[in-house]
């Protein structure tokens, strides 16, 4: 009998032992949970910022849709491709007949906010990491803020005021955070936010020269000043443009314009903010998804989809002897710099040379880079600001620097208004297919006439801003309104 009682006690003991407080604390084994301890190192923290740069390699962020809303939409480019291939929505974007459900506006919105999330994830993770070298943490914070400012700048240029999402939200979302994610802020508020981020970035980032090795591809103090100057430019704060341009130091124009768009010219002396695609035939790759192939010659003898083709208007805009024309446009029936033939049988007369990659010309993951800020732009921004402030004579030498590099003589103009036009024209030719033209046209008020010259109708009061996506408005449920013009 005793034995039974003993075994009963053992059994019960098992249960009571089991009922200790930690019985229910089971470590998950299925997947690695989000635990800051797992990234509490220099490497872990750096990875959070690397992921932001990686966002710029995405198809939605930088490729087909982005080309549509920043390039095909302009007077520099046409949809291209075959007449029957709309590329989803490229035809209606080219024709300025798009609406709020047009996918490329939604994908651009989503991609930039996805990038902003990566910035916010990094910025909220860093304070939890106590094993990261403090200097590194400062720099990484600066990089994340630059990136966030850059993406808000894209959003505000395209859509006007947008929701300012500056921190992460919980589930279920609080009312305050719901307001934050669904309420469009004014354009001025967005610019104030961008300027604050850039001020923080300037504080935190090192000069370009302080980087070594692959880190040279990171953004620096100079990048932040240059972007801030451009943000000032869009707000017509001319003196600030000049001041901030003057703080962009350590850069210079490269002598060969066309070299910048080849592999050997990547991250040259002129490069201020550049996205680094790594070409590969394997998957996953770290090139900008289909950027090259979607813009490559199409049809018999071609190797791509043939979208985003230069217009005749652009080709005709270059003065004789401008080296930028041949560096920007592939002509049907010619040979490329690497000897590749573009037969006369391809579908379109011209293609975008700046998207070309010699080694990865027909694969998804191209090594083509995107140049978002070059020193040439700093020069032209400063020239524009000086000219607007009446210091036209100081602006002219800057314009001539750009013309000279392009193989052209000095500008013949001297009046403020002529120089203004000259600067606008240099901007067009210098930055063609570098995703600047549309915003520049709207900013400078040239859009209506430029579109008319290209045979399109730009409706004043409507087309200055893209439509905000229907999906967002549906989420907002009245908290936000569509842009004017009857989208």
């Amino acid at each position: 009998m005793k034995k039974i009682y003993i075994s009963m006690f053992v059994l019960s003991g098992l249960l009571f032992a089991g009922c200790a407080d930690d019985f229910l604390d089971v470590s998950p084994t299925e997947s690695i949970p989000v635990d800051p301890a797992l990234v509490n190192s220099d490497e872990g923290a750096t990875g959070f910022v690397t992921a932001i740069y990686n966002q710029f390699l995405g198809w939605e962020m930088s490729s087909f849709g982005w080309n549509a809303v920043s390039s095909i939409i302009t007077d520099d480019a046409d949809k291209g491709s075959d007449p029957g291939d709309a590329g989803g929505d490229k035809d209606i974007i080219d024709a300025l007949t798009y609406n709020a459900s047009t996918p490329s506006f939604e994908s651009t919105w989503n991609a930039n906010y996805a990038g902003i999330n990566r910035c916010n994830q990094a910025l909220e993770m860093f304070p939890k990491l106590d094993k990261v070298t403090p200097e590194l943490k400062t720099r990484l914070t600066g990089e994340a803020k630059f990136m966030r400012a850059f993406m808000y700048f894209t959003l505000v240029k395209g859509y006007g005021g947008v929701p300012i999402v500056d921190h992460l939200s919980g589930v279920p979302i609080s009312d305050a955070d719901k307001q934050m994610q669904l309420t469009r802020k004014s354009v001025a508020e967005v610019y104030t936010f961008i300027e604050k981020d850039l001020a923080d970035a300037i504080e935190a980032l090192p000069e370009k020269g302080a980087y070594v090795g692959n880190d040279k591809k990171r953004v620096s103090k100079g990048s932040a000043y240059a972007l801030l100057a451009k943000v000032n430019l869009y707000q017509k704060n001319w003196q600030k443009v000049i001041d901030n341009c003057d703080k962009v130091t350590g850069y210079s124009l490269v002598s060969d314009y066309s070299l910048q768009y080849k592999k050997e010219g990547e991250f040259g002396d002129e490069s201020i903010f550049e996205i680094d695609g790594v070409g590969t035939t394997a998957t996953p790759g770290f090139g900008i998804g289909n950027y090259t192939v979607s813009q490559a010659p199409r049809g018999a003898g071609g190797w791509g989809w043939g979208f985003n083709t230069p217009t005749k208007g652009l080709a005709d805009a270059y003065e004789p002897g401008d080296v930028r024309r041949a560096a920007t446009i592939i002509f049907r029936g010619s040979f490329l710099y690497d000897g590749r033939e573009v037969p006369s049988t391809v579908a379109n007369a011209m293609y975008n040379y700046k998207a070309y990659s010699s080694s990865f010309y027909n694969v998804e993951f191209t090594d083509t880079n995107l140049r978002y800020l070059r020193y040439a732009e700093v020069i032209l921004m400063k020239a524009e600001a000086l000219n607007e402030l009446g210091q036209t004579s100081e602006a002219i030498p800057l314009v001539n620097q750009i013309r000279k590099r392009a193989g052209l003589g000095d500008t013949p103009f001297t009046s403020q208004s002529d120089i203004r036009k000259a600067i606008y024209k240099e901007r067009r030719l210098e930055f063609a297919f570098e995703h600047d033209r549309w915003f520049d046209l709207v900013r400078t008020g040239q859009a209506q006439s430029a579109m008319a010259a290209d045979g399109k109708t730009f409706i004043v009061g409507k087309h200055e801003l893209w439509p905000v996506p229907t999906t967002f408005l549906r989420e907002a449920g009245g908290l936000s309104q569509q842009n004017p013009g009857g989208y």
């Binding site: 740069y53 999402v165 591809k217």
Partner: protein, 999 residues
């Protein structure tokens, strides 16, 4: 307290009453066997005793005094004491609720004293259906319990009790097998089951707390009793599809396809004289067969009850090559260690060997053209190649369907499962009214599988012009996947049961205890290999260069799940007629966040046995009338969990990148169901008419659905959160009439009907990540659950509404949002789709009838459902050159037949529409049994021999034009293919002959 003192005094004074003499006797059952444990009481002498193991007893009573002899399962007998040794024969009790005992959580209760809704299915009902899994046998036998099952060998039936309350969580009930909570009972031999009870309402389920929301099925396996008894059951049967779909033959196919291809081939693509006419369904199927053999040895001695059984089930499926076998061994013993201590041990071993075949072969057989031969004259597999209008070994391909016979021939998959289940239970009677029970159960499961694919053979079979020497060198010759899977779960419960009657009118039973449950880490190992030796004996990786042979290696460990619980139940009966049950369980689950892991699940049940009131006791027609009602709260912890992981691989030339692209809801916990229910039980006309009626309203108050983050959050992964409300309202009626006309003839007729209304009643104001389900595999989907689904039942179909055939050109037309008839290219996916009904039936019903005449028994059971829809997914698959059903091939729109209900032949993939949505209403005879008991004399070796014939699913009436309206698909209500017939296995009709023997 007064009572207590009185009892105490009574105990002390007891010897004083013993003024009688020793009356001796024996209690036997109708077969003359002693009835151990029978209680003999002499009311005048206030003495009582138990019969010993052989049924003998001695009691101090006066001669002539009335002795009352009672025993569970027998009718009580009152008889005058005699000085001569008495022989008292007890008659086995009829099945009336007055005597029936039901298994409830952590105990048993007389059914009449129970306040809850419990359906009990007896073992005979389960073994009558010759099926593998006991749940399949109960289809149609319990009101409020919807069972759908597929006849794929080894498949697990889906059981839904009182409606589905969850969209993303688990819908299966909890099975408790001899105290072991488990998810599946495929390892239990149906012949070993003594009772199968379904706890349906909150009053009975709340004791299972966070696992109770989907209902609980309590399974008790057999124990030995009396003299050694050997029981043998053997049966064998053959199986054929209950209903098949007639496909077009070669001539019909040619006529239809020439019309469909007339755009590209104005002169006709196929010539009229074709060399082959293949019936593909016949080619891939065979007459299935199955056998089962069981032997059970059981019995008891004074201190030991034993039960030992071995069972073997073998099935050859109707799909060529599919085989399934299960062997089970069970040993249940009960040891009486002392007068106060009982130890029960049970152990079950089950091994399953399965050779599955791909069910997509059915769809391929449906779609492949009859012009294609199984094999050409030279032995090569037939392919859909056509040259000069005639099918042959060369030419161009006219559809993209594989050869289903080749598909089956080159399928080489094996699965093997071993499940060990066992437990120890100790019952200790501390004092007469207080019992302590400690029970430990464990379950060990191991599974291994391989799948070998001969790529060269598949490559060759896809094109007869290919030769092996041309097989591309960069492709793998073959691939092999091997996997292993195992876990160990255990459960330990300790509880006290206190039962006492105070002052003769207050009957109190209290149960209280604690439980720990661990679902161990499930370890899964999967290895993908290439270019292995075709002989399975040479797959060992010893001394093999792993790098060149292994292409994938996955070693997973699923999260361990633990549950810690406290439970208590209070059952009170006043004056034998007023009933009150209160239960509470407090569960802590390791699956949820620290502050969200504990939950309390209370319930209360009330009952009133009206027939025991004096005003009804005189009414002769009413034998029993009982009202009951209950309220309770239950949980479903089998829900999606928070998983927030780092998203890595976001690299850039500086190095590797990581971010977070998901959010989690810190409040995520189990789903909570609140149920209010009421019912009435009655027995009328000398208990010949028995029945019950139940009403319930179940509300899942916090259904989990995936919330889609707002676009500006930049986060794209949806997070599960508590945001929905699902309601199930319904009623259940069960009626049964039993009558015995004379000693030779008795009969019964019964039936049940259940109605359930399922509805997603509410959603919080959040944006749902739409759950799109019912994929047809061709870009079309048939189901959705998103913000627009409020007011719809779960599992709703969502598609375009068919608007008829355009008589001018034979095009299919659909209604758009404005009610206009348009062609499919003019439809808008966002605005024109509609909710068109659910795959969940609103009503299910079962009927049963039977009779025994002398040695012959006969019974019929039927089952039907109403209100459900089924989508004919395979029919909606044509995109060019596939076969069509004969009915379509014989009547389609043409310039000369403009009023046909079938559109003009076309090769355009049709959009999902109500054209293919059909009523799933059906009524099926599930079982007809005829048995004959051989008249045996006592001295013969066999004490019992019954020979029987069964027809399982012999008849069905259905509106659905496909194979089976009872389509479980992958069993996923919203996101999966349940309710869509695609790759469907037909329901089977089986004829079985078998025998039961006892000796």
């Amino acid at each position: 307290m007064k009572n207590f003192i009185f009892s105490f005094l009574a105990l002390l004074l007891l010897p004083a009453y013993m003024s009688g003499q020793a009356i001796k006797g024996k209690v036997v059952d109708s077969s003359g066997m002693g009835v151990p444990g029978a209680v003999i009481s002499a009311s005048n002498s206030r003495t009582s005793t138990d019969a010993d193991f052989d049924g003998n007893f001695t009691i101090n009573a006066k001669e002539g005094e009335i002795l009352k002899i009672s025993m569970l399962g027998f009718d009580a007998v009152s008889i005058a004491a005699t000085t001569a040794p008495m022989t008292i024969t007890l008659k086995e009790a009829g099945d009336t609720a007055l005597k029936e005992v039901v298994v409830i959580g952590y105990g048993t209760r007389k059914k009449i004293d129970n306040t809850s809704a419990v359906s009990s299915i007896k073992s005979e009902e389960i073994t009558k259906m010759k099926v593998l899994n006991a749940s399949q046998a109960i289809q149609g036998k319990a009101a409020g319990v919807q069972v759908s099952s597929s006849d794929v060998p080894g498949s697990t039936p889906s059981v839904v009790i009182r409606g589905a309350g969850t969209a993303l969580g688990g819908r299966n009930p909890l099975y408790v097998v001899d105290g072991m909570p488990t998810d599946n009972i495929n390892n239990i031999n149906t012949n070993d089951i003594t009772s199968y009870e379904i706890l349906k309402d909150a009053s009975s389920l709340a004791i299972y707390g966070t696992r109770g929301a989907n209902g609980v099925i309590m399974i008790t396996t057999k124990a030995g009793k009396g003299k050694m008894n050997v029981e043998v059951e053997s049966f064998a049967g053959f199986r054929t599809p209950l209903k098949t779909v007639k496909m077009a033959n070669a001539d019909e196919y040619v006529r239809y396809s020439n019309a469909a291809f007339s755009g590209a081939f104005p002169a006709g693509r196929f010539s009229a004289n074709q060399p082959y006419n293949t019936n593909w369904l016949d080619e891939i199927t065979r007459t299935g067969s199955y056998t089962q053999n069981n032997i059970a040895i059981s019995g008891s001695s004074e201190n030991v009850k034993y039960f030992f059984s071995v069972g073997n089930y073998e099935e050859k499926g109707i799909l060529n090559g599919s085989d399934y076998g299960r062997t089970t061994i069970r040993n249940n013993n009960e040891f009486k260690l002392s007068d106060k201590v009982k130890l029960t041990q049970n152990m079950s071993v089950s091994t399953i060997k399965n050779t599955p075949m791909p069910l997509s072969a059915f769809t391929n057989a449906y779609r492949q053209s009859p012009l294609v031969p199984v094999r050409y004259a030279d032995g090569k597999y037939g392919v859909p190649f056509i040259s000069n209008g005639v099918v042959g070994e060369t030419g161009e391909s006219f559809n993209n369907v594989g050869n289903p016979v080749a598909q089956l021939d080159y399928t080489n998959e094996r699965q093997q499962t071993l499940t060990l289940q066992g437990g120890l239970k100790l019952d200790y009677e501390i004092i007469k009214s207080l019992k302590f029970t400690s029970q430990f159960n464990g379950e060990f499961y191991t599974y291994k599988q391989y799948n070998y694919v001969d790529n060269v053979a598949l490559w060759l079979s896809a094109d007869p012009t290919r030769v092996q020497s041309k097989y591309p060198g960069d492709l793998n010759v073959n691939t092999l996947t091997r996997s292993r899977d195992q876990y160990f779960n255990w459960n330990l419960s300790n509880y006290f049961t206190y039962n006492k009657v105070f002052a003769n009118i207050h009957d109190v039973e209290v149960t209280a205890g604690i439980e720990a449950n661990v679902q161990g880490t499930r370890e899964k190992l999967t290895i993908d290999r290439k270019n292995v030796n075709p002989n399975a004996d040479y797959w060992s990786l010893k001394d093999v260069n792993v790098a060149s042979s292994v292409t994938g290696y996955k070693d997973e460990a699923l999260n361990q799940r633990r549950l810690q619980s406290y439970f208590a139940r209070f059952q009170y009966k006043l004056m034998d007629r007023y009933l009150l049950t209160g239960t509470v369980r407090r569960d802590g689950s390791s699956q949820f966040a620290d502050d969200k892991r504990w939950g309390t699940f209370p319930s209360v049940g009330l009952g009133w046995i009206v027939s025991k009131e004096s005003f009804l006791s005189k009414v002769e027609t009413i034998d029993l009338l009982k009202l009951r009602g209950s309220w309770g709260r239950l949980g479903n912890q089998n829900v999606p969990l928070n998983t927030q992981t780092f998203t890595s691989g976001l690299d850039y030339p500086f190095g590797s990148g990581t971010t977070i692209n998901s959010q989690v809801d810190p409040n995520l916990s189990w789903e909570i169901v609140e149920e209010l229910s009421g019912g009435v039980d009655f027995e009328l006309f000398k208990s010949r008419l028995k029945g019950s009626f139940d009403l319930y309203e179940k509300k899942t108050t916090n259904t989990i659905l995936n919330v889609k983050p707002y676009s500006a959050s930049g986060i794209t992964v949806a997070a599960p959160s508590h945001i929905g409300e699902v309601s199930n309202k319904g009623y259940e009626i069960a009626l049964r009439w039993d009558d015995k006309i004379n000693d030779n003839l008795s009969y019964w007729v019964g039936g049940n009907f259940s109605h359930n209304n399922n509805e997603l009643t509410n959603l919080k104001n959040v944006q749902l990540s739409p759950i799109i389900g019912g994929s047809l595999g061709n870009g079309q989907n048939t189901k959705i659950l998103d913000n627009t689904s409020v007011g719809q039942p779960l599992g709703s179909f969502y598609m375009y509404e068919f608007a008829g055939i355009d008589q001018a050109n034979g095009n299919m037309l659909y209604y758009n949002a404005n009610g206009e008839k348009v062609v499919q290219t003019a439809l808008n996916e966002r605005t024109d789709k509609k909710y068109v009904g659910s795959l969940l039936p609103t009503s299910t019903y079962g009927v049963t009838m039977g009779l025994t005449y002398k040695n012959i028994d006969f019974s019929v059971d039927g089952y039907g459902t109403g209100g459900a829809k089924v989508y004919n997914g395979k029919k909606a698959q044509r995109f060019g050159g596939e076969n069509i059903e004969a009915s379509t091939a014989r009547d389609f729109w043409s310039p000369t037949n403009t009023t046909s209900s079938n559109p003009a032949p076309s090769n355009v993939t049709p959009v999902a529409s109500t054209y293919y949505l059909e009523s799933a209403d059906f009524f099926r005879i599930n079982n007809i049994t005829v048995g004959y008991k051989l008249p045996l004399k006592d001295d013969q070796f066999f004490s019992y021999c019954r020979i029987y014939v069964n027809a399982i699913n012999p008849f069905i009436t259905q509106k659905f034009s496909g194979f089976s309206p009872d389509v479980t698909g992958d069993g996923k209500l919203v996101e999966g293919t349940q309710g869509v017939e695609l790759d469907a296995y037909p329901s089977l009709r089986s004829f079985v002959i078998g025998a039961n023997l006892k000796f």
